[in-house]
């Protein structure tokens, strides 16, 4: 697998859904066969097997420590020091460290995040700033996996965005 894209977050907590939402949109774009896209609620241990098979990985998440709608792209390196005290959720750097420890190498990896504005329980829609970040986020991910040309194609608008 040349590239693995993983969008993660809770679909019932407002802007936290932007990761899986963007992943679903990317999956709908008909990307090449050597690109795999996953939409996840959380990052869990078995993902290590998928990371191991990928040359590069792009994680997509929402962020609470930047301005709503702001985009941030960070390279990620394996880091066992961010180990979770439980197994409900792992930091992507921890999973990369698992990958390195078990298979001798970790893929090149980036974290693409967009700042969120609201995170309440039972919120099924993205806020305005988060919605505005969707298209740039998709373009950024496509650029990172070497598919810039696809970024200019018109996006399919989902009912979630229409209704927001």
């Amino acid at each position: 697998m040349r590239a693995l894209v993983i969008g993660y977050g809770s679909p019932i907590r407002g802007d936290d859904a932007i990761g899986p939402w963007v992943a679903d949109r990317l999956a709908d774009m008909g990307l090449p066969d050597d690109v795999e896209v996953q939409a996840r609620h959380i990052l869990t241990a078995e993902l290590v097997e998928d990371l191991h098979r990928a040359q590069c990985v792009v994680f997509i998440d929402a962020a609470a420590d930047i301005m709503p709608g702001e985009l941030r792209v960070l390279p990620l390196a394996p880091d066992a020091g961010v180990m979770s005290t439980m197994a409900h959720f792992h930091d992507p750097r921890e999973l990369l460290a698992w990958c390195e420890a078990l298979y001798g190498r970790a893929p090149e990896a980036w974290l693409v995040t967009a700042g969120g504005a609201q995170w309440g329980y039972g919120h099924f829609q993205l806020s305005g700033p988060a919605r505005a970040a969707v298209e740039p986020m998709i373009a950024e991910v496509l650029s990172l996996i070497g598919l810039d040309a696809l970024a200019s194609e018109p996006l399919r608008i989902s009912p979630m965005l229409d209704g927001a």
Partner: protein, 476 residues
């Protein structure tokens, strides 16, 4: 001067908790409490929602065992519809439940408890974690990942998503199984079964090393509660409630899940957000019982699959008398037996010709104002009960979570371990780890039981009666 030791949070479990140990002047433990420290309140905020939303809403209770809630919730909705779902739909739901059990048990054994089992209770805490396991036995870690992956892949193949599938619906499932999906799932079973058998064989050789822990980790006479089949065999999806006492006598048997309130009462304590279910006829707290893998194997006459039945017979030899296995340490053993069972049973169900039948959903509107759904989650018996108004809106919810059933037992277990290992005058990390480890035996999912979320560092404080910190250990 009395003192209190506080362990917060308990690590390598699912969710957030604190343990406090109240010490006497002599340094001996007078009282031990297991606190659930956060609250999410699903039972309350679901009120007013249409009942058809309940499976999707309650599945969000947990990122590890959403399938368990999905199934119990849909069973409660089946009850509201007053329908019997098609037999093929039931088989498909059973497969998904077993896949959930497989991935959850694998996580508990390989990733949460193996650092203690492989590296030792008193080993360097900086290395007593999954990375320490990877360094010492990388194949064990890979096996754990692979078993989880198989469980998750089966859930995804059936439901379309690994974490929150929407394929299970009130009345059945929303699409039948195809031949190619069946073949894909069947192809994974032999490898999973090989890993499960090898791990079981390996763990059996380790069990004698843990004689001390087996005698002191929640080794106590309690009742055991679980579902069983009408023949009294191991059951995870449906069936009838059975309660055995510590001597193996049947206290309740073949109780329809609808009558669970006759058997189970719920108490609350001011030190925890987790409820304290108890066996109602004996009252609280005398009505202490345990659920989950240990209880299911103690209650089952047989598993009903070949290798799991051999393993069940070996499980019973853990107890020197002929009664139920009473040590909570042996939850680990029981978990491995259930992993084998899950793989064997999934294979059997997938090979059933009826599994491709296209009739998989019964359709109806709400026909009752109250519905009850009971199933076995990885950690024990899970109960969803809903009441709706004539418009189908939820007016009342009660969730009795698998982990909650074990609340009394977990509290008693930490007291036992603390009595055995804690020296209040000389706080040691290994002592702390054993107190935590007995909780890990139960594999509690506190996010489910408390509806908590987040992550905490670990701090243990020794305070004097005036509340002054006299000793402190911190982790994370």
């Amino acid at each position: 001067m009395s003192r209190t030791i506080s362990i917060e949070p308990v690590t390598r479990i699912e969710g957030h908790a604190r343990i406090t140990l109240q010490l006497a002047d002599t340094g001996e433990v007078e009282e031990a409490k297991f606190h659930l420290t956060q609250f999410r309140g699903f039972e309350k905020f679901c009120e007013g929602r249409p009942y058809r939303e309940m499976p999707a809403l309650t599945a969000r209770t947990c990122g590890i065992c959403p399938v368990s809630h999905l199934l119990a919730s849909n069973k409660a909705c089946d009850d509201l519809l007053a329908v019997t779902i098609p037999p093929t739909a039931e088989k498909l739901r059973r497969i998904m439940n077993l896949a959930q059990l497989l991935q959850s048990h694998a996580l508990s054994f390989f990733h949460l408890s193996s650092p203690d089992l492989l590296l030792g209770w008193d080993s360097d805490p900086a290395k007593r974690n999954i990375f320490g396991v990877m360094a010492q036995d990388p194949q064990l870690a890979k096996n754990g990942i692979r078993l989880r992956q198989i469980g998750q892949a089966i859930i995804e193949t059936l439901g379309g998503k690994k974490i929150h599938p929407t394929w299970v619906v009130p009345g059945g499932v929303n699409e039948p199984l195809t031949e190619d999906k069946r073949a894909a799932m069947l192809a994974m079973i032999p490898e999973g079964l090989r890993i499960a058998k090898d791990t079981f064989a390996c763990f059996k050789t380790l069990v004698p090393k843990f004689k001390d822990e087996a005698e002191r980790f929640g080794t106590m006479p309690t009742m055991f509660l679980s579902l069983v089949t009408p023949k009294g065999n191991l059951e995870h999806y449906d069936g009838l409630l059975r309660v055995k006492d510590a001597q193996g006598r049947l206290i309740e048997d073949m109780v329809p899940p609808r009558d669970y309130q006759r058997v189970i009462g719920e108490a609350v304590e001011d030190f925890s957000y987790m409820k304290f279910p108890y066996y109602r006829p004996l009252g609280y707290p005398k009505g202490i019982y345990r659920v989950g893998p240990l209880a299911r194997l103690n209650n089952a006459n047989a598993c009903g699959t070949p290798y799991a039945d051999v393993a069940l017979a070996e499980f019973h030899t853990l107890q020197e008398d002929s009664g139920p296995v009473t040590s909570s340490f042996h939850y680990h053993y029981a978990r491995l037996v259930e992993i084998i069972f899950a793989l064997e049973m999934m294979e059997r169900l997938l090979k059933d010709p009826d599994i491709l039948n296209s009739r998989v959903r019964a359709r109806a509107r709400g026909n009752r104002n109250e519905g009850i759904g009971v199933s076995e989650a990885p950690r024990g018996t899970l109960m969803h009960q809903y009441k709706i108004d004539d418009h189908g809106l939820i007016t009342w919810v009660d969730l009795i979570i698998a982990t909650g059933h074990n609340n009394l037992a977990m509290n008693r277990s930490i007291k036992q371990v603390a009595d055995a290992y804690v020296d209040g005058n000389n706080l040691q990390e290994g002592m702390l780890n054993r107190v935590e480890a007995v909780i890990r035996c139960y594999d509690p999912c506190l996010s489910c039981a408390s509806h908590a979320f987040g992550q905490m560092p670990l701090v243990i404080e020794l305070r004097d009666a005036a509340g002054q910190v006299v000793d402190r250990l911190a982790r994370g």
